[in-house]
Amino acid sequence: MLKVLKYSFYDLSRSRWTYAYLLFFLLLTFGLLNFSHDLSKTIISLMNVVLILTPLIGTLFGALYYYNSKEFIDLLLALPLPRRSIFLGKYLGLSLSLSASFVIGILAPMLLFGILSTGLVLNLVILMSTGVLLTFIFTAIAFLVSIRFEHPIRGFGAAIFIWLFLAVIYDGILLLILIWFEHYPLDHFALLMTLFNPVDLSRVLIMLQLDISALMGYTGAVFRKFLGTSLGMSIAYATLLTWIIVPVFAFLWLARRKDF
C-alpha cells in the first residue's frame, strides 16, 4: 500500500492543480493578514473559506482523480497487490496531497506573521485539523461515489450533489425545522442534527474554540455545555473520524466486488 501511496503522491506532486490549490491558500492567508494585521480576525475569515472550500475541493478532486487514474488502477490490478492496498493507497495519496497544500498554504503566512508568539496557536490548530478532516471525509465520499458509478458524468453529479446537500441544503432544512417547531425545545435536536453533518460539526467546533459561540444564542449555550467538555470534544472528533471510516470501508467493500 505504501508503494501505491508513494506513486500516487509523486504523480500528484507533478500536477499543477496541487500547486494551484497551495497558491490559493497562500495568497488568501497572506492577503487577509496583510490587510487586517489581525491574526484572530484572519482565522475567523479563513474559517468560512475552509468550511466551504475543503469539502468542495475534496469532492471535485476526488472524483476527477479517480476517473483520471483508471489506467493506473487497471495496471495495478494485474499486479500481485491486494485491491485494498491499491484503493487505500490512491485515497491516502490524494487526501494527503490536498491536506499538505492546505496546511502549508495557511501555516506558512501565519508563521511569517508571528502566530507562535500569540495565544492563538490552538485556534489555528483547530482550524487546520478540521480542514484536514473535512478533506479526508469528502475525498472518501467522492471515491465511494466514483467507484459506484461507471460513468464519470453521473459520478461527478452525485458527488457534487452530496457536497451541496451537506454544505448548503442541510442547513436550510434544519433552519426550516427549527422555525416550524420553534415552540418546542429543540436545542438537543439541533445538537443531534449537527453531529450528522460533518460541515456543521466542524463549524461548531471552530466557533467554540474561537469563543464566538455567543453568536449562536441559547442553542450556542447548549452546544457549549456539551462540546465544551472534554467528553463532548472527544465525541465530536470521533464523529468526524467516523465520517472518514464509514465511506472508506464502503468504497473498499465495493472495490473488492467490482469487475474491472
Binding site: 494485474a78 500481485p80 497487490l81
Partner: protein, 235 residues
C-alpha cells in the same frame, strides 16, 4: 493453472457459460473466437480483475478466490494498452518493477524490440505499435511461470511480429505456460499446441491444431473457423 466450469454475466448478459481449460508448462494455448465471445472476460477472470459467479479458477493448485499473490507468477498483457500517460517509459518500467518487487530483466527486450530511443519519452507521445511493444516489455520482463496475453500482436510490424514469435517459442522451451487470444488464425496455427475456440461464452472446440483441421477434412484452420462461424450464423 486451471479454469473449471466458469460462469460470468454482466447484469442480464451471460458472457461465459461454463468455460473450462487448463494451462500446462511448455505449451501454448490459443483462444480463438469472434468479437464478444468472452475471450477478454475469461482472461480478466483468470487475473482476478473480473469476479466469476460460478466455477473455479486455481493457480499452482490453489483456488484464487480473492487472493493476489498468485499474480506474482503471471505476466499479463492487456488488450488495450492503457498507461498513466504522463509517465516516461523508463519511469513506468521501474515503477512496475518496484511494485511487483521481483527481479526484472528488460535490457534484452528493449534491444529486441528497438525500444531504446523511446525510453525517455512520455507514453502519450508513443504510436500504437510502440505502445504495444511497451506492453510486451511489461508482460515479459519478469520471469513468470504463466503468460496470459490478450491480442499480443495487435499493431506490430512484420519484423517485430517475427521477434515476438521467436521470444514466445523461447519462453515455451523454458517450460512456460502461455495462453493467448488472437484473431490471427495463422498465428495460432503456427504457434499453438492447443486451440480453444470460444463461441458465445462456451468452448465450441478444444484440442490440437491438427485435430481441428482433421475435423474439417484437411481445410486450413482459417477456412475451418470461417466454416464454423458461417454455420453458426445460419443456425
Amino acid at each position: 493453472m486451471i479454469v473449471r466450469d466458469l460462469y460470468k454475466s454482466y447484469r442480464k448478459h451471460q458472457v461465459l457459460k461454463g468455460v473450462s481449460l487448463g494451462l500446462d508448462p511448455g505449451r501454448i494455448t490459443a483462444v480463438l473466437g469472434p468479437n464478444g465471445s468472452g475471450k477478454t472476460t475469461l482472461i480478466k477472470c483468470m487475473l482476478g480483475m473480473v469476479i466469476g459467479q460460478q466455477g473455479e479458477i486455481s493457480a499452482n493448485g490453489k483456488n484464487i478466490g480473492h487472493d493476489y499473490l498468485y499474480r506474482k507468477d503471471i505476466g499479463y498483457l492487456p488488450q488495450i494498452a492503457r498507461f498513466p500517460e504522463n509517465l516516461k517509459v523508463r519511469e513506468l518500467v521501474s515503477m512496475v518493477k518496484d511494485l511487483r518487487n521481483q527481479p526484472a530483466n528488460y535490457e534484452e527486450l528493449v534491444s529486441r524490440f528497438g525500444l531504446g530511443p523511446f525510453m525517455q519519452k512520455p507514453l502519450r507521445n508513443l504510436s500504437g505499435g510502440t505502445r504495444q511493444k511497451v506492453n510486451i516489455l511489461l508482460a515479459f520482463m519478469f520471469d513468470s511461470r504463466y503468460y496470459i496475453l490478450d491480442e499480443p500482436t495487435a499493431g506490430l510490424d512484420p519484423l517485430s511480429l517475427q521477434r515476438f514469435k521467436e521470444m514466445l517459442l523461447n519462453e515455451k522451451q523454458k517450460g512456460k505456460a502461455v495462453l493467448m487470444t488472437t484473431h490471427m488464425v495463422h498465428l495460432a496455427e503456427e504457434m499453438a499446441d492447443e486451440v480453444v475456440f470460444l463461441l458465445e461464452g462456451k468452448v465450441y472446440f478444444h484440442g490440437g491444431v491438427q485435430e481441428l483441421k482433421d475435423t474439417y477434412d484437411g481445410m486450413n484452420l482459417e477456412a475451418a473457423i470461417a466454416n464454423i462461424l458461417s454455420l453458426q450464423e445460419h443456425a
